[in-house]
């Protein structure tokens, strides 16, 4: 476990999480949420939890992003609040 790499990945994951809830465009929010899932996947990989990382990569970054985009297709792209 390399603590410098861990620190960089946690930093990037926090940035992605904060950006996903502050950005106004919902499609951008979905994409940044996928990036957050991928950073979490990398954090788990370098912690040694390969099975959790694999699940996060295919469910969090793959299928959930497709579900969110399919939902956005039926709503407006701009947020109101």
């Amino acid at each position: 476990m390399i603590w410098q790499l861990d620190l960089i990945l946690v930093f990037l994951a926090v940035i992605a999480a904060v950006a996903a809830i502050t950005v106004r465009d919902l499609l951008s929010a979905v994409m940044i949420l996928g990036a957050f899932s991928f950073f979490m996947c990398m954090i788990w990989t370098q912690m040694g939890g390969l099975d959790v990382a694999f699940t996060e990569a295919c469910v969090g970054a793959g299928i959930t992003t497709a579900f969110f985009i399919a939902t956005l297709y039926n709503t407006t792209r701009r947020t109101k609040d």
Binding site: L50, F54, T55, V59, G62, I63, A66, Y73, N74
Partner: protein, 155 residues
């Protein structure tokens, strides 16, 4: 997705990509015992391949080939394989999902029977997860409307 459009680049790329994604999904499923992976992840990757087809091609055409009835049958088949393996162990005089007792009907020793029982469970999970994920995607993208309503609208 719902609207009809034809893009040669996207459709050709999907046609080349989908078999490799499905092969990778089967690889993940088959190596689930000894390495990271298994039925759930393999099913998700397989569902991603079908979602890619649904996005790249016309949704109604894709639903005609792989509709909701087929998805429901696959979902029930996966649950049936899972529960059937468990109940087979129960009927052979052991606990639910105690695969070692499957050696009474399989021509192997209990260790190998445990291995094959685990593979059967993973197969059921893979089929059920694939069908449910594709079904959720179809319900989200069509707002839960059936194909007859979609065809009436001409969408």
């Amino acid at each position: 997705m719902v609207r009809e459009f034809e893009d040669v680049i996207i459709q050709t790329l999907c046609r080349f990509l989908v078999p490799f994604i499905q092969l990778y999904s089967l690889y993940v499923f088959a190596h689930g015992h000894s390495s990271p992976g298994g039925g759930f992840q393999g099913g998700c990757v397989m569902a991603a391949a079908f979602v890619l087809i649904f996005i790249a091609y016309d949704l109604n055409e894709a639903k005609r080939r792989f509709g909701e009835k087929a998805l429901l049958i696959f979902c029930c088949l996966g649950v049936f394989i899972y529960a059937g393996t468990g109940w087979a162990c129960l009927l052979l005089g052991s606990n639910f999902l105690d695969y070692g007792f499957l050696s009474k009907v399989l021509p192997t020793d209990p260790v190998k029977a445990r291995y094959y029982g685990m593979a059967m469970i993973e197969l059921g999970v893979q089929i059920a997860v694939m069908a449910v994920m594709v079904s959720i995607f179809l319900d989200l993208v069509t707002r839960g409307e059936h194909e007859e309503i979609l065809e009436e609208k001409g969408a």
